[in-house]
Amino acid sequence: MDFLRPASWEEALAAKAEHPTAVPIAGGTDVMVEINFDHRRPEHLLDLNRIGELSEWQTGPDTVRLGASVPYSAIMENLRTELPGLALASHTVASPQIRNRGGVGGNLGTASPAGDAHPALLAAGAEVEAESVRGTRMIPIDAFYTGVKRNALAPDELIRAVHIKKADGPQQFSKVGTRNAMVIAVCAFGLALHPGTRTVRTGIGSAAPTPVRAEAAEEFLNAALDEGGFWENGKIITPSVAKQFAQLASGACSPIDDVRGTAAYRRHAVGVMARRTLGWTWEQYRDTGRTLEGAA
């Protein structure tokens, strides 16, 4: 095994081009487990820790450009306002020790359906900045996950950053597991209200071969909210609408039975989380609306 230690992003791209099978390692929270357990013996490890810019983020007018290695603990501490859904999801990642090392780039690189960041990224809307010596391309998050632990990256590409839409409304994240800490999600659900475009976006984790959006549920809800004038009148969402939304979210799952839970349970739980996160975010939206009215 070779240990490659590029000192700059350009060096990292060159190394990845020369050794396309090299495994990038940043926080190590996935890669080292596989090496410790002898599940993986890559020819080359590509250490990204020396590239400082990967641990930085920039807040623009519409998006946050989040470096691939920004640790979850930094997201929780610094980006709660801009990225509330991702900050909530970050807080459910494993333990403080893991959150100090792991970041969203690793979650995307591994592309496990159980990665905690995915539902939040899908709900907020995001693009992955992938780069190789051939150039840079922006991959929409909806097109990024291509299969179980598979993503749209080419062999010579590395994830440099993720561009995540800044929250324009309330966001929530919910995760089912046996305890609060150190849990791989049985299933998870992210929901973001986008009052600017009058739309709702969702993300489902651990209940399909890849992280997915509940698109039929979103379409139904967007139409129902529009039709009832809910965005304007701020009324409580009709229980029948919430129920149908939950059912459609359940229907977006194609889960499996495994050690963490059964497919039937996952389908059920995703429906429950969809209804709850909708309720929580809508309450926040109504509260904010009232506050703003009062202020004006």
């Binding site: 095994m1 070779d2 240990f3 230690r5 390692i25 926080g27 190590g28 929270t29 890669v31 080292m32 487990v33 090496i35 410790n36 357990f37 013996r41 490890l45 250490d47 820790n49 494993a94 333990s95 403080p96 020790q97 893991i98 100090n100 090392r101 609060n180 800490a181 150190m182």
Partner: protein, 194 residues
């Protein structure tokens, strides 16, 4: 490959490190720092917790090569680390460890065969006084995590303590005595500040 980094204030150079080796393995098997324990090797148990440039991490998930040029504090150096914090940065701490170890401390540590001095850090003393140690296997990781908590949050709530120690498993104590120990250390720290 060769790896250089600082452990408990002393520069170390290790040869013949396998590229896939963890920092934990290098500390225990190549450098003679067996304080950090090897249990799950997947970041679940926290018994290998060390400070890497001041940040608590599972050393089993850090590739040895990633520690190149960086500062590591293990439980063996916790007493000196706490004393240095007390002397040089009262009330705050030295999160990076970048200001190094005073010469006198380094000498006394050298005299003590690299295993630190007899004196314990406040959190270690509190663990003993509260009866928070049973088999002791999880203790080093808990001490490093708890010490960092008290560095960043001098008066933690019970919720803060539970959160900070949520990545450390103990199969003996039922955690109550461990929580007692952290509360005790926090209370003593507060008294000392007054």
């Amino acid at each position: 490959m060769r790896v250089n980094f600082t452990v408990n204030g002393r520069k170390q150079e290790v040869d013949d490190v396998w590229e896939g080796e963890s920092l934990l393995y290098v500390l225990r098997e190549r450098m003679g720092f067996p304080g950090s324990k090897n249990a799950c090797e997947q970041g679940e148990c926290g018994s290998c917790t060390v400070r890497l440039d001041g940040v608590p991490v599972c050393s089993c998930l850090v590739a040895a090569g990633q520690a190149e040029g960086r500062q590591v504090v293990t439980v063996e150096g916790l007493a000196d680390y706490a004393r240095h914090r007390e002397d040089a940065h009262p009330g705050t701490g030295c999160a990076t460890g970048a200001c190094g170890t005073p010469l006198g401390t380094a000498r006394s540590r050298q005299a003590g065969d690299g295993q630190g001095t007899e004196e314990l850090s406040p959190i270690q003393q509190a663990f003993i006084d509260a009866g928070a140690v049973q088999c002791g296997f999880c203790t080093p990781g808990l001490l490093v995590a708890a010490d960092e908590l008290l560095e960043t949050q001098p008066s933690p709530s019970d919720q803060d303590i539970r959160e900070a120690l949520s990545g450390n498993l103990c199969r003996c104590t039922g955690y109550e005595k461990i929580l007692d120990a952290v509360r005790l250390a926090a209370a003593r720290q507060e008294e000392a500040v007054r």
